[in-house]
Amino acid sequence: MELTIFYITALIALVSTTMVVIQFNAVHGLLYLIVSLLASGFIFYLLGAYFAAVLEVIIYAGAIMVLFVFVIMMLNQGKATVEQEKRWLYPGIWRGPVILTALLLAELLYTLTTTPVGFAGHVVDSKHVGITLFGPYLLTVEAASMLLLAGLVGAYHLGRPLSGRSAP
């Protein structure tokens, strides 16, 4: 049964990812991308990587997608874009993502209620991940923190307002 659930989830991930690529509007693609990331998180859960599943939902589908939403919101300004939004947001555009998300929710409820925890393959719990992360991979964690600092400085430098410069 869990194999069937895995195949359905993989199909949801593939369909929503394909819709990301073929959508003309970036916001619609973003909706489908969030569904795709949620499906990937569910695949992680089915594989026994609970910690990675939680991080996938929180960081990928939460934080990074919020960044995308903010940038798309900041790039669309003015009265013309409001009318454009009205044209875009006709009722029914949410139908595809909502159907896919409802499928995912049904799968999740079924999995949580019927199957015992840790049914599929090896379960790697977060304790082992933490011990490994701060044991042999300690230097890599430091490198990742430096990468995040560099990303912070770079994003701040690039995201400054253009005051003082003449726009072309």
Binding site: Y7, V21, F68, V71, G121, H122, T132, L148, A155
Partner: protein, 110 residues
């Protein structure tokens, strides 16, 4: 209670990676191209998780954490670049940027 075969997970990961790469090559919108890069990174993380789950080692999840960190840093810088490009060129078309070596009038390389 049959475990999920790793080959099928790897097939799904490779298909996701292929879709992301096709999106990166075909689309000309910069934001959609960044989202395609996210799809490819996510597919790579899925392959790592599959390996870690197959052999019961936590290294796969550690690699996924590093991919997550990389994606966060990359998307911060990438979205900053997208905003700069939009403010300078008033467009998100990647084909409009082939004149990047000679800056438009009034623009200055900060």
């Amino acid at each position: 209670m049959t475990p999920i075969p790793m080959e099928h997970v790897l097939i799904v990961a490779s298909l996701l990676f292929a879709v992301g790469m096709v999106g990166l090559l075909v689309r000309r919108n910069l934001i959609v191209m960044l989202m395609s890069i996210e799809i490819m990174l996510n597919a790579a993380g899925l392959a790592f998780i599959a390996g870690g789950s197959r052999w019961g080692q936590p290294d796969g999840q550690v690699m996924f954490l590093l991919i997550l960190t990389l994606a966060a840093a990359e998307i911060g810088v990438g979205l900053g670049l997208v905003m700069q490009i939009y403010h300078r060129y008033k467009s998100l078309d990647a084909d409009a940027l082939n004149q990047m070596r000679e800056l438009p009038e009034g623009g200055e390389a900060s």
